[in-house]
Amino acid sequence: MNSTFGIRHIVQFILFVALQILLLDNLVLFSTGFCFIYIAFLLFLPIHINKVLLLFLGFLAGFTVDVFYDTMGIHAAASVLLAFLRPHILNLLTPRDGYDTNDSANLHVMGWRWFLAYASILIAVHHAAVFSLEIISFDWFTLIKVLFSTLFTGVVVVILQLLFFSVKRAKR
């Protein structure tokens, strides 16, 4: 845990989880579109973060939401899965000349195409895990819920990037 994991990420964790619990709990579009914004914390972590640390952070974030949602273990399981897959997806999406040392999972640094591919794959996996663990069996409504919620969360993540991760700060 060196300078790559600073106070900024702790603030982001508290902010996103609080947003999730206090506000987005009540915001469900057409009873199919759920927004699990707390995973933005995991998405925005530095690219070269320790894999094991990332897994524990995933568990922590999911577990915190679980405690408030009374869905013991479901969000934790999905977030750990996301944390496990993240390094692999990052590998898959490596730019031709590799990641720079000061690259971060940021829309302005990595560009639209990279960021959308990265975010949408991970969000879709996470949401699919959440909804299928919740219902155990499978039906078509779950699939619609996954697609719609992925879209919803994805849009919110992009909005967050555009609003709070300015071009200027990314360059620094």
């Binding site: 619990i21 094991v52 897994l55 949602y69 013991m72």
Partner: protein
């Protein structure tokens, strides 16, 4: 040995991943099966405090609805009190010599008492919904008690802490409530299949039973959780399916779960006695 450690070190991320997932699965299974075992849930003291703060802000927006519900309930209670008072005036039995009267039997002594609680967390759109109330063991709430709102059945207490309690809502995939059709006392089971939070299913109604849309469904009183005759809802559709020996009855729930603000936890003073009697007789308590 060194090779083993090297192997473990190489696959440490995967091993940690498997361990954490196993822990999560264990938590899911444990939380869903064993009632009242969970410590980490919204009845936790610190979690409850955050949720209370949140509802402290949002409750102001429903004040009008809360007021009108309370006023309606007050009117209903007042009407009932008047009825009793009227009956009392015309009834001269209390002026009779007490030696002539036998003391009332235990069935007429009301065994239920209600604890009012504020709903500080609520969900209706998930597959398994829970509520959190701002009353706990200090106010006499215990796991397994029934929860009702002024206009109908809400659910059942799952876990309790000193100041907060978590309630399994009727809108939960594994919640079953023993109910009957008020008109002809046919018993069935209320369950929720997910989706729309205003409708549930009344199951196990045999095909010979006569009923019609709009009939009231109430709790049966066959278990110790709910008193008899608490409204669950009204029948909204009756379908007879060719391959089933029971009707598929849809019930429009009386309680609007999205609008819950105050509920009552039902304490049955004779629960222990009745449960132990039924258990001794070899009857398993139905949930």
């Amino acid at each position: 040995m060194r090779n083993l450690f090297a192997f473990i070190y190489r696959f440490r991320a995967f091993l940690v991943f498997v361990l954490l997932e196993a822990l999560c699965i264990y938590l899911i299974v444990q939380y869903n099966t064993y009632q009242g075992a969970a410590f980490f849930n919204s009845a936790n003291r610190y979690v409850g405090r955050v949720l209370e703060f949140q509802s402290g802000v949002t409750d102001y927006f429903n004040l009008a609805t809360v007021n009108s519900t309370l006023a309606q309930e007050n009117a209903l209670l007042r009407e009932e009190v008047l009825k009793y008072r009227q009956a009392n005036l015309t009834d001269s039995i209390s002026q009779m010599d007490t030696t002539l009267l036998v003391a009332t039997d235990s069935a007429t002594v009301h065994p239920f008492s209600l604890h009012a609680g504020r709903v500080i967390n609520n969900s209706v759109r998930r597959n398994n919904n829970y509520l959190t109330l701002s009353i706990g063991t200090e106010d006499g709430v215990e796991p397994g008690m029934g929860v009702i709102a002024p206009n109908g059945v809400v659910g059942r207490v799952k876990t309790v802490s000193a100041k907060y309690s978590t309630v399994t809502s009727l809108l939960h995939s594994q919640m079953l409530i023993s109910a009957k059709i008020k008109k002809n006392n046919t018993m069935g089971t209320i369950k929720w299949l997910g989706g729309d939070y205003r409708t549930a299913i009344l199951d196990y109604i045999p095909l010979h039973v006569q009923m019609s849309k709009g009939d009231t469904v109430v709790t049966s009183g066959y278990n110790t959780v709910f008193p008899e005759g608490i409204v669950v809802g009204t029948i909204s559709s009756i379908v007879r399916e060719a391959d089933k020996s029971f009707y598929t009855v849809k019930v429009k729930l009386a309680v609007d779960f999205a609008q819950l603000t105050y509920v009552y936890v039902v304490e049955n003073k004779q629960k222990a006695e009745r449960d132990s009697l039924e258990l001794n007789a070899g009857i398993l308590p139905n949930e």
